[in-house]
């Protein structure tokens, strides 16, 4: 059996609908129209130990809802989740000992006091022994380059520094699985690259299974091969990133501007869609051809 098994997972939310305007706001006080939204609809997948899986989809596709069910925050309406032999919602306390979670938009660090204090509290929450704590702290400080910020209050950190501290905080208890919900949100290009590097390093060194969501395709490209795409609560794709690229990037439209059009040669695997005075639009099959080749001809 695989490390994480998800079968036919579904979750429905009731959403209150009302039209804009004060009048309608009062109206909804008396009578409410609710619609049911299937945030997650019949999703199944398996993840092996040590894998990095990117979970992608547009806003509102149900990514966070799935993550919340996988972390035991929400109870699934139907379906089954088994992670490392646990049912996340029913065995919450035992289960969460083995996971680390970083929500890009929520902080688990204490805003007003130095980072290290938050680490110490987490150490007590997870009942980590003193020796283990010192060892891991040292390792994380080196890995995530935290030396200078350990004694700084969180409110004075930059977003990139804070995200590094957040990731470290979620690893203090040495979890087997790490959930990263948009870990690079709002970060600048350099910090993004750094955070990616750490994530990869952690995965390699500690064999931590990582599930991440992100809107940044470069994030995903840099980190993982396997992606799961969902939209409107349904699973659309599960497989290698290269494959999906091939699947949807087969043909490219190329527009070529000429000073003067002479005769157009017949190019293999290329179709002329449109022909104007000094412009032609071509449909090029990328598998068999390249753009530069077409232009040369």
């Amino acid at each position: 059996m695989s490390f994480i098994t998800v079968r036919n997972l579904s979750k429905t939310f009731k959403v209150v609908k009302r039209d804009s305007g004060l009048k309608n706001a009062f109206k909804s006080l008396i009578k409410r129209k609710t619609t049911e939204i299937k945030a997650v609809n019949d999703i199944s997948f398996d993840i092996n130990e040590g894998e990095i899986v990117a979970y992608i989809g547009p806003n509102g596709a149900g990514k966070s809802t799935t993550i919340k069910m996988l972390t035991g925050i929400l109870r699934p309406d139907s379906g089954e989740i088994i992670v490392d032999g646990f049912n996340p919602f029913n065995n919450r306390i035992k289960y969460v000992k083995n996971i680390g979670v970083v929500f890009g938009q929520k902080s688990q660090l204490w805003w007003d006091i130095p980072v290290e204090e938050s680490f110490l509290l987490l150490k007590d929450i997870y009942k980590v022994s003193d020796e283990d704590y010192e060892l891991r702290k040292e390792e994380l400080v080196k890995l995530l380059n935290l030396k200078d910020i350990l004694k700084t209050p969180v409110r004075q950190l930059s977003l990139g520094q804070r995200m590094r501290a957040e990731i470290a905080a979620s690893l203090i208890h040495d979890p087997k699985i790490l959930f990263l919900d948009e870990p690079t949100i709002g970060l600048d290009a350099i910090s993004k690259v750094e955070v990616r590097k750490f994530i990869k390093e952690i995965n390699k060194r500690k064999k931590v299974t990582i599930i991440l969501t992100s809107h940044d395709m470069t994030d995903i490209e840099a980190l993982t091969d396997r992606i799961i795409v969902i939209g409107h609560g349904k699973k659309l794709y599960d497989g290698r990133l290269q494959d999906i690229k091939k699947k949807f990037n087969k043909n490219k439209k190329v527009e070529i501007l000429f000073k003067k059009i002479s005769n157009i040669p017949d190019i293999k695997y290329t179709k002329i869609i449109e022909k104007k005075k000094n412009k032609i639009l071509l449909d090029v099959n990328m598998e068999k051809n390249t753009i530069s080749k077409v232009i040369r001809e």
Binding site: T71, I73, V96, F103, D112, I125, P153
Partner: protein, 258 residues
């Protein structure tokens, strides 16, 4: 236990980070209580309608409630302002920790600013108790302690019930404030000024009078009934009920934000 100690010290560190704000709010909180005391005191002097209670007994009743209430606000602010925890989505973060949710909510907010008020109430409590009680027995001392603890537990229970509603309504509802604040305000005055239905309500539904009015009549030797000594323990039942309601509410929880 170690975790609770840790939470306490963490919040103290946060409070001390903003020194002047901390001291000022400590003082203003105490003044707020004293103003309320002054109002009751003035009323008390003007109309002698509370003829069964003398001024020190009234002070004792008043300070019991305030002491218990301030302590509850100090330690259980996480429940008092539970809607914030839900709206900000921080409740999710508590759920991913391998500890009891209750302890974590207590630990999520400890409001040391209420310390000024607590100290003030404690001083009045000790002063009025020393005036009221003529012959101090061991039983009376323990009753003095259980009165405060009972009030503390009862107010916390009300906070928890209020918090349970947040699972359904998300936003905290003002109706809950009527119950917590209203109960406190009712109990500031001696019970004898109220009509019977009100008295019944605050004896059997929200048993706040069991922790100040009745025990005080034992302290002042108006009654020798030993049963009065154990009345504050009734609040433990309230706590168990509130905990039960909270767990029902938690099943309805459906998180906010992404």
């Amino acid at each position: 236990m170690k975790l609770i100690k840790n939470y306490l010290s963490m919040h103290l560190k946060v409070s001390l980070e903003y020194k002047s704000s901390f001291i000022l709010s400590c003082i203003s909180q105490a003044i707020y209580m004293l103003v309320e005391l002054f109002t009751i005191y003035a009323l008390f002097l003007k109309f002698k309608l509370l003829n069964t209670f003398d001024i020190n007994e009234m002070l004792l009743g008043f300070s019991t409630i305030w002491l218990g209430y301030s302590l509850a606000e100090l330690f259980a602010r996480g429940f008092d302002h539970f809607d914030k925890l839900i709206v900000r989505g921080d409740f999710d973060l508590l759920l991913i920790r391998p500890r009891s949710i209750f302890i974590q909510i207590f630990g999520s907010d400890i409001c040391y600013e209420k310390f000024g008020r607590t100290l003030c109430a404690l001083l009045i409590y000790i002063y009025s108790a020393s005036k009221v009680i003529t012959n101090l027995t061991l039983l009376k001392i323990s009753l003095l302690i259980t009165m405060v603890i009972g009030c503390f537990i009862l107010i916390i229970s009300l906070f928890i019930i209020g918090a349970s509603f947040c699972f359904v309504t998300v936003q905290g509802i003002e109706a809950i404030n009527i119950i917590t604040n209203g109960t406190k305000q009712v109990a500031e005055y001696p019970l004898s000024i109220y009509k019977k239905p009100v008295r019944m309500f605050f004896t059997f539904v929200i048993p706040i009078v069991l922790i100040n009015y009745y025990p005080i009549s034992y302290l002042t030797d108006k009654t020798g009934n030993i049963l009065y000594v154990f009345m504050p323990l009734v609040t433990i039942i309230s706590f168990i009920i509130s905990e039960y309601i909270f767990h029902i509410g938690m099943k309805k929880y459906c998180s906010t934000g992404s």
